[in-house]
Symmetry: C2
Subunit: 430 residues, 2 copies
């Protein structure tokens, strides 16, 4: 399909300046941005008049557990271990394939409505259902089977991750990438980690892992191995290929430099880190060191939404508070984290993350005709400090319009919500 | 007018439980909540079918500078003193009566769209224009003329605050309350503060003041007077009547107990405190001590929106992070701050803050049919952690519908935005 977006304020994310212009999409790619050659201005099946709208790259959620939407608002304001042991894990144990499918569809619906065009998901079992939901909804995703080694003596989960890779990597017209998901240092033995790293590198794939999220993780790994979580994962070879490390709340300056040297990316999850009292990740230090940082929401049970606009604001606020420097993490840096930073973290930056001719057409439009955008100063600041996910009017992935004037085109939201409500009721019954 | 709201999920804020039922409004008051007597179910001019909606008290913004909307996104990510001296104050010096009117109207439009039904404003000059905007828009407000003593040798600002009181207190059908606004410990001499306190107490009015916002304020008052800001204001008699102290970021345990003893209320502004790197107010300690806390957005130039839903989430997240206790400031406590806490802070709790028969009809409806509210667990948690200001469909103040299905009924938004854009351009021109 050929789509022409006319007269938008365009933020390409190759520079912080806005430009007024058009965007031409041909099939799954951006054909032209800004000045569309006159001879290409005709012949589009779809023309979107985008006066008073801003076009920007779709937001990329670099770390979530999509189907945890089913546990939204089910167990809040609890101690971390009470939350996990008494509430989350027992409910997760009851999840079947249907639950994963509908929970993921609900997450995807929420993400598309909030301008997210790609997400990195680590969950399981039944990741094939996640792949199905991604395929049918039209969104883009990096999927990994969350492998808790402590509960996997037969390495069945590793086999499932491999099967997921074989079946779905590069599937759905290239919208699905499969990586490998060792859950965390405190749930995987060194040997188990090595197996997963080997499985990933053999296939030219990557690793998605939790890292240094809480002080109790630090204590546990220190006690068990006399190492820090970074040292432990490094010994297991987890950083010897493409690696997305979620959280990174408790990293020393030396570890930040080390991870930078290894070309690891961190997925920053400010809302979850605050809500669960995990701590404030030293994001400003990471960026100063050149370590790539993406932005994620974590699962809905610890957020409780999958709203990347809320997450961007939280990232800025948390950094300014924790460093006591109001200049820390300025707006454009935050926008970079949520777009090009996340794209790079998923090793997808050649295809997504900016609006450039030749890249995949993953982009969103925001309605600027809102009181909270007035006065409009042609500044990117309010995309971080004032914008709301409800300002997103159009979400386009791979050249397909998934939301138009806030209406989802590929998802029957009423059906998804009815199923999700039913699934949630069953798994949270005590 | 007689309005019947049918079949809503009702959160009265007298208890954390939701109840399904109806609400009857007669003229400016709530006539019945929950079970409306059968004989009263007929004869309403307006019936709102509220299935799939939640009704709750309107949110009360306990501290803002409304017309600062004109400075939104104009000067972000700067050092506090650079921000104030080089950007904010020079722009404010250029503001005339028209600017204050349109800036305030823009703020009111944004607040009504976000479910705020009352705000406490400290700004000036031209507070009569703020009163005009409140009068015509239908919102409720506590107004005080911000009096910077250091720039007021003739005490003209105090005279203006008195004139504002004489003309507008209890005006607009009781929707306006006028208090007195000594700006802050660091901008007012003791004698100046005393004059304002006297002016307030003589008239049975109250005081709205900034207090202990930054460490530099603490240092300045220590250096100038050998006192803490609380001690300084106490010596000037500022706490000897109704007093709303904004921020309270840097209060000791003893000061919290002292303020509780004086029946002072604190307006907590988490977003502004994070964005400007002011610090984390010890809100959990305040509440544990019984000190009343309301919630505010501060001005749009340090937020950058006037979104009380965003502010509620920020309050919860900030407290959980700064105490490193995930149980700190649970959702219902946050909702109390934004409703009954703020109402009490404005000494308006006999009339607003909860949904009870006999109280003023200040309430909002939220559309629960949203993916981020699914699954719906009849829990108030998602009003803090997932709700968005865009979920508000109806805003009612004093029995008048100010927004219906997201359309403003008393404000011409396009006109307001056009004027505000023009005003902002002039005052921020360099």
């Amino acid at each position: 399909m050929r789509i022409l977006i006319k007269n938008a304020q365009i933020l390409t994310m190759t520079a912080p300046e806005l430009q007024k212009g058009d965007i031409l999409i041909i099939e799954d790619k951006i054909a032209a941005v800004g000045q569309v050659p006159r001879e290409m201005l005709t012949g589009s099946e779809k023309v979107i008049e985008a006066d008073n709208h801003l076009a920007m790259p779709g937001l990329i959620n670099a770390h979530t557990h999509a189907a945890m939407t089913l546990l939204r608002s089910y167990a809040d304001d609890l101690e971390l271990m009470t939350w996990l042991h008494d509430e989350i894990w027992p409910a997760e144990d009851k999840m079947d394939a249907e639950d994963i499918y509908w929970g993921t569809m609900l997450a995807i619906a929420e993400m598309i409505k909030g301008g997210t065009t790609t997400f990195a998901d680590m969950y399981g079992p039944f990741m094939d259902k996640v792949a199905e939901a991604v395929t049918s909804s039209g969104i883009r995703a990096n999927l990994s089977r969350g492998c808790v080694g402590a509960a996997d003596p037969e390495k069945i989960k590793i086999a499932e991750n491999i099967a997921l890779f074989e079946q779905y990597n590069n599937g759905a017209d290239g919208r699905i990438k499969v990586w490998f998901g060792p859950h965390a240092p405190y749930t995987c033995s060194k040997e188990y980690l090595q197996k997963l790293a080997q499985a990933a590198w053999e296939r030219g794939s990557g690793i998605h892992v939790h890292l240094a999220e809480t002080t109790s993780e630090l204590e546990q790994i220190k006690e068990g191995y006399g190492l820090s979580p970074v040292e432990y994962l490094a010994q297991a070879g987890i950083f010897d290929g493409p690696c997305l490390a979620a959280h990174g709340v408790w990293l020393s300056d030396e570890e930040i430099a080390f991870l930078k040297g290894k070309d690891v990316s961190v997925a920053h999850n400010p809302v979850s880190n605050m809500k669960l009292s995990s701590g404030a990740a030293p994001v400003a230090k990471m960026l100063a060191c050149g370590l790539n940082v993406g932005l994620g929401t974590d699962g809905a049970s610890s957020n409780n939404s999958l709203d990347m606009f809320k997450e961007m604001a939280a990232a800025a606020f948390l950094s300014k508070l924790s460093t006591m420097e109001p200049t820390s993490l300025p707006a454009y840096e935050v926008l970079k984290m949520a777009t090009v930073g996340s794209a790079k973290a998923l090793h997808w930056d050649k295809e997504i993350g900016t609006l450039e001719a030749g890249k995949k057409a993953d982009l969103i439009l925001l309605d600027l005709n809102q009181p909270h955008f007035c006065p409009w100063n042609n500044s990117v600041n309010d995309l971080v400090y004032s914008a709301k996910s409800s300002d997103v009017t159009h979400t386009i992935v791979n050249g397909q319009i998934l939301m138009e004037e806030r209406k989802l085109l590929t998802i029957d939201l009423a059906e998804v919500m009815a199923h999700a409500q039913k699934c949630a009721k069953r798994i949270t019954a005590k």
